[in-house]
């Protein structure tokens, strides 16, 4: 190889990866020689000889300018693809987004349909994985009332990807006049929604997370009624456990009222 691979090592966050994409993009070094490597806590670098390593400083200004460029020079759909990919848990997402954006700047909005290109195929698949997971939680998330006057609803999930922003698009509108919390146990983050107001997403401290988990221990009358309904709505003559498991995989059932 005549040219060294250049590895941009960055923080494992949306801001970090987009800052790396910004730096890599303006370097003009050549797309095929660039790798983006997000470094999660506890990550040990597997350094290779003959590569150049660059540590990226996270900078929200750089993030904003990448986002602005993608929206205006490619499309809003490309922007959605990019943000969903960044919300995912796949370790290749930095690289995939970099290549996708690079193609996008030359191809324009058509890039989202060009499934022949490996990076588009991959970002499409990642996008689908994130959206499918979010959709599953739109369906299977269960709230319980943990306080009254005013009523407060709490729902717990254990997703693979960061799906809360996706979920809030759905629940923020549907339960617009409710106070509610969606708690993501995997990533220790939660969305807090104010009745008729805004919502915020933030990382939780260990104590806050513990408090939320204690709240879910209470039993509810309506949960009991729901289980009654759930048991009686099935037709015995048509029992089909395999179909049920296909449609509602076991790992989603952990926090579902009707399976407790």
């Amino acid at each position: 190889m005549d040219k060294m691979i250049r590895v941009y090592q960055c923080e494992d966050t949306v801001d970090g990866i987009l800052s790396a994409i910004y730096d890599a993009g303006i370097s003009g070094y050549g797309h095929e020689y660039i790798r983006i490597e997000p470094q999660s806590p506890g990550y040990t670098t597997n350094r290779t000889l003959f590569s150049e390593y660059i540590t990226v400083q996270t900078d929200s200004g750089k993030k904003d300018s990448v986002i602005k460029a993608v929206r205006s020079k490619i499309s809003w759909k490309a922007y959605a693809f990019m943000m969903n990919a960044l919300a995912s848990d796949f370790s290749d997402r930095g690289d995939v987004v970099y290549r996708f954006v690079a193609y996008g700047f030359t191809m324009g909005k058509q890039v989202c349909e060009a499934l022949q290109l490996p990076c588009v195929k991959r970002i499409f698949a990642i996008n689908r994985a994130v959206q499918n997971e979010a959709h599953y939680f739109n369906e299977f998330l269960r709230f319980q009332e943990v306080a009254q006057e005013p009523s407060l609803l709490l729902g717990v999930i254990e997703p693979r990807h960061h799906v809360i922003p996706n979920l809030m698009q759905h629940f923020g509108e549907r339960f617009i006049s409710e106070w509610f919390i969606i708690y993501d146990k995997t990533h220790q983050e939660a969305a807090f929604h104010q009745a008729d107001g805004s919502w915020e997403l933030r990382l939780l401290t260990g104590q806050e997370a513990k408090k939320l988990e204690e709240l879910t221990e209470k039993q509810e009358e309506y949960a009991d009624l729901w289980k009654t309904f759930f048991d009686h709505i099935a037709i015995v003559e048509r029992k089909n456990q395999k179909l049920q498991t296909n449609m509602l995989p076991l790992h989603y059932r952990k926090y579902m009222t009707e399976f407790h």
Binding site: M107, Q110, V111, E113, A114, L115, Q116, K121, F124, A125, R128, A129, N132, H135, Y136, N138, E139, F140, L141, R142, F143, Q144, E145, L153, G155, F171, E173, R174, F175, I176, S177, E178, D196, Y222, A223, D224, L225, W226, T228, F229, F230, H232, I233, A234, I235, V236, E237, R238, K239, N240, Q241, K242, L243, Q244, N246, M247, L248, M256, T257, E258
Partner: protein, 496 residues
Amino acid sequence: MVLQEKAGIKEKLAILADAAKYDVACTSSGVSRKGEKGMLGSCEAAGVCHSFSADGRCISLLKILYTNECIYNCKYCINRCTNDVPRATFTPEEVCSLTMEFYRRNYIEGLFLSSGIVESPDYTMERICKTLHDLRTIHRFNGYIHCKAIPGASPELIEEAGWYADRMSVNLELPTAKGLQELAPNKSRSTILTPMRQIQNGVEESRLALGMKGGNQSAYWYTQKRIGRALPGSQNGQIGSRLLHGTSGQEKEVTKEADIIQPSKATALTKWENRDISRGFVPSGQSTQMIIGASGESDYEIMAVTEALYRKFDLKRVFYSAFVNVNQDVTLPAWNTQPPLRREHRLYQADFLLRYYGFQANELLSEKRPFFNTYLDPKCDWALGHLEEFPVEINSASFDTLLRVPGIGVKSARRIIKARKTGNLDFEALKAIGVVMKRAVYFITCQGKMMYSFLKIDEDYITRNLIDKEPDVMKGYGEKVTYRQLSFFSDSEMSG
């Protein structure tokens, strides 16, 4: 008869969920409505499933009967008046609080309210209207409501319910009038088709006055429009009946009766001034359901009736319910036979072919071949009978041609059309697009080549491979890879 008048809400819920479970349509699709401050809920056009019961069917709505008391004696029905079963009746308040509290906890997408017929059709319909009225106006519920129109109820009450409900349905019960006469002596074709026609006219009027908000068109309508066929609707009565008679050969009684009820020119909706019209009238349209396997109809007759319903009554969906002999009635098929689930499945597959793929009933079945193939789905079956139309070249075929290829659905056909604008597609790209290769592979080429050189376009060869658990195509994958990997990222199916 046990009357559980003082039963608690839990006992009532158990009885009335049990009594409602044989109703099939638990869908929450067809209408999109945003949340509003001060109200609870919103609606998603694609519908949302919330759980899956032990029989694997989707639970989207709180599906209950208002009461399971009934003055009728339909032979197939668990709630018929001669049965000795526990009976219960909700109050409107109970239904409202169950709906609201379940909805807030994200258990359900809305309410599906049906009822046994207590006292009279009008009395029953009036109780349903009162419940829906309270739910919408007192409890400010903005989620999905599906309610049954009770056959024989007065038009005023049907209209009243339609202003609160998103979807309404009148059960056809049995595919033919003869079957209905034998098994449901208190119901007649005309008491079923009259409210169906009224709702259809109401939806059309609402759509004219309010646009898309007043009710969107059905998938069947869009498909007919795309292909350039006559559109369904009461205005198209003549074309509809020509098609019906053309396809059937022998006239079926349902079509004759459907012709008797001519589209009325009179205004269907009379309550515009004093009702909340912001949601429109039955904006998600109407559906119906019929029992499969209780009387002796063929699949061909069932599909012809289905097509007539889509064309002449502009239905959104027709549902099929495999017959379960709950009453062990001697005039019905033996109680110890399994419900005809495979047959029901084939009918649903064919139903999708009518609504989304532009197939017509007489393309799939005929007088001479009146039943679906048990081993092959209707689309594969059709393709095998029309091998002269294959293989199809992925990089140049039209949308409608792609849609007729087994393994290619509406979504993947759309993706193919878009993707090939940016460059030629190969088989790897088709996998990413979501094409089911194990079926498609016999029927397609990419840039003139089939995926494997050993594939043959031969009816026996393809049939054997489609049915075989280890078909020839496996050779192309080598030992380690199985088909399962293909479905890894496939879209979740959202219909219920």
